[in-house]
Homo-oligomer: 419 residues x 2
């Protein structure tokens, strides 16, 4: 890492505390990622991005802001990147995946809350995340109770705008979401002084569709038996999608896919069980479950999560004569995402069954971040549907601490033996 | 209690299990309620209602249904009773307050969930609540994650309709709620075959305003030092408001108020601390916190909860020339309720401060049902606001079990000594 202390200082970061955070990551990354065998060469780009996670990318954000550009932080796959990008904004996903931030988060939030929420609030109030410090605006959304209410706390520390996501998926809800996106456009136009046009929006839609297609191509390759890429590596790529430069990222995912395509023909069969992970998102550096599973005789071949298929499935239609048509297309695409915050959410159950077949999985791991109620209540419905289809399922509810690693390992081992 | 076994049988109840439930209530009620000293004579009506909670009232619901009338179960103060009543429906609040139902609720819901939700689901699936068994339709709403997702489970056991409550309180949200109420009217018209008219709606609004005014009158009397009624008794009246016959209930609350008014002049001053309870609702027979507190040197004089002020504050305006005007009035009145499920929810903080002054409280008890995230996250904001006003505050997070009664008692004692 270069010397970014001046940059961090200019962002009003708590440098001492941040040093402690920086000291943890390389070791963790080394033991989880660099220790993997037979990784694709093209993963070196993603290694590099991680090694510069608080450096080069922050410098890029800073340069963008120096030139008058804006940076907006988001927490959810429902906030439409197409709008941000069209208006010249760099959008960065801010969900927190480190235990490091939990303690600070618990200063202002109850302990009985999802670690992801406690972590992102802790990251902001401890001033140890340069992404938060680089944001001109934070954009929340009314998905789950925990996030919805946490944004009220966050708003005390940084300018925060909240989008009202409908709770159902009727036709009237899609229209409501379209109207909400228009209000969001207004907000971002005011922030940037830029104006949304048919051209800049259409270009933005194309750019982001291309990114989603690249990720889809990567996931398609994972359907091969054996998959040419570890679940850990695929997860990393998905996580980086949330904050990396869109074009450069897309290019590097395509390069990775090119290499993996060639690799497929020389891959030897193995006896590893193929698993799906479904449930709550895994924000950087939350690699806990994947690391446990892939150190056993198993490979994760698909994630039905917000850091998986929900992020890239469905493109925004590029058809449309007017800017309103395009906004409608955006509303429709985003309302196809099947998050447990919706009621009912039958689409997710169908997705899981479809993906289980497409990816030929031997079993499904239902991953629930502690205290996430939408996903924990929805478990019973998924359990019933998978039982009907004879697809083995295990529920793992956990947070970011390492205390339960041994226990999870034992449970996954038993699950692998059973399936 | 009369012999209602045939009635219960006709409602497909689990009689054996229900016997076990019926065996618990009288003893509990005796020790919590009947042991109180100097109660108003007029409380005898409410004693009677409780003693017939699974009897006479169920018979009334049954008679109503025999005559072709419908019964609709609700779970939230946002579902407009005015509509149900105008269309000839008897609405009954179904929130569950007994530990008895938790075990059955946990068969289909995660344990890490609000006891009120686990209890009402358990009440339905165990077929031990004659109110659930008497309902032609259950009406849910998208308030908190737990309830929103639990209705999906409930829908497997009974016809369930869910209203989409907005998550914010902007002008557009009030309009959305108005439109949602119109969809609800349509649903209830279809259920009953009755038609909403200006006349029946206006009469219904008047009737329910009268009920709210009676409760308001009762609460006004509690502003007296000392209050002429225990918090326990006032809570009971509020709880009964959710399922008793509207006119009879109103009449009996007025009678109670008449008696209490006379009583005030002869009340002797005492040294009891005056407390407010704010937070999550207390469904019958959840009298745990009130019982603990009022057995100490304290009196609860106001509840800023859904089984308190949120239920009766603000009337529906009776002005309006058309049915649409009246529906708009209903939407506006309901959107004034300040539940933590909204973001932001500054109105609630203002309510607490206002009520603390009006009721001259010595301290506030923030009551949070375990795992209720909207209220637990909102605690920090309330804490800050009350600190600024020098109003003492204690947080009690608990469920329906009796395990922590000793601990809560000790904490409240310490709080009372401190204030």
């Amino acid at each position: 890492m270069g010397d970014y202390r001046k940059l961090w200082e200019s962002l009003q970061m708590d440098l001492e505390k941040h040093d402690a955070l920086c000291a943890v990551l390389p070791e963790l990354y080394g033991s989880v990622y660099l220790s993997q065998k037979d990784r694709a060469e093209a993963m070196n780009y993603f290694n590099f991005v991680i090694s510069e996670v608080h450096g080069l990318r922050i410098e890029e954000l800073n340069n963008h802001r120096q030139k008058g550009g804006k940076v907006v932080g988001t927490f959810c796959v429902y906030v439409p990147d197409e709008i941000l990008n069209a208006l010249g904004v760099i959008g960065v996903g801010l969900c927190g995946g480190s235990q490091f931030w939990i303690e600070d988060g618990e200063k202002v939030l109850p302990r009985n809350l999802c670690p992801l929420i406690k972590a992102f609030v802790g990251a902001k109030i401890s001033a140890t995340c340069p992404y938060f410090q680089s944001c001109d605006l934070l954009v929340g959304e009314t998905t789950c109770d925990g996030k919805k209410k946490a944004y009220e706390i966050l708003a005390e520390y940084a300018p925060t705008y909240v989008m009202e996501l409908p709770q159902m998926k009727r036709e009237k809800d899609i229209k409501d979401w379209e109207a909400e996106i228009k209000r969001f456009i207004n907000e971002i136009e005011n922030l940037t002084g830029n104006k949304l046009t048919y051209e800049n929006l259409k270009n933005s839609i194309k750019l982001i569709n291309k990114k989603r297609r690249a990720l889809k191509r990567l996931y398609e390759l994972r359907k091969n038996t054996p998959s040419p890429i570890s679940g850990l590596d695929a997860l990393l790529v998905s996580q980086i999608a949330f904050y990396d430069d869109i074009e450069r990222f897309t290019e590097n995912v395509e390069k990775l896919c090119d290499e993996l395509e060639k690799k497929i023909s020389i891959l030897k069969a193995n006896r590893k069980k193929r698993l799906m992970v479904t449930g709550t998102p895994m924000a950087i550096p939350n690699w806990k479950l994947h690391h446990i599973i892939e150190n056993l005789d198993a490979q994760i071949v698909v994630e039905e999560t917000c850091t998986g298929t929900r992020y890239f499935e469905n493109e925004v239609s590029e058809d449309g004569e007017t800017i309103d048509d395009l906004i409608r297309n955006i509303a429709e695409r985003y309302m196809k995402i099947n998050c447990a915050c919706f009621t009912p959410n039958e689409g997710r159950v169908e997705d899981i069954i479809r993906l289980a077949e497409e990816y030929k999985v031997d079993g499904v791991v239902y991953y629930n971040l502690s205290f996430c109620q939408p996903y924990s209540v929805e478990y019973k419905r998924v359990e019933k549907a998978l039982k009907d289809k004879n697809i083995p399922l295990i529920l793992i509810e956990t947070d970011y601490s390492t205390e339960d690693v041994g226990q999870i390992k034992t449970r996954i081992e038993a699950f692998l033996e059973m399936i």
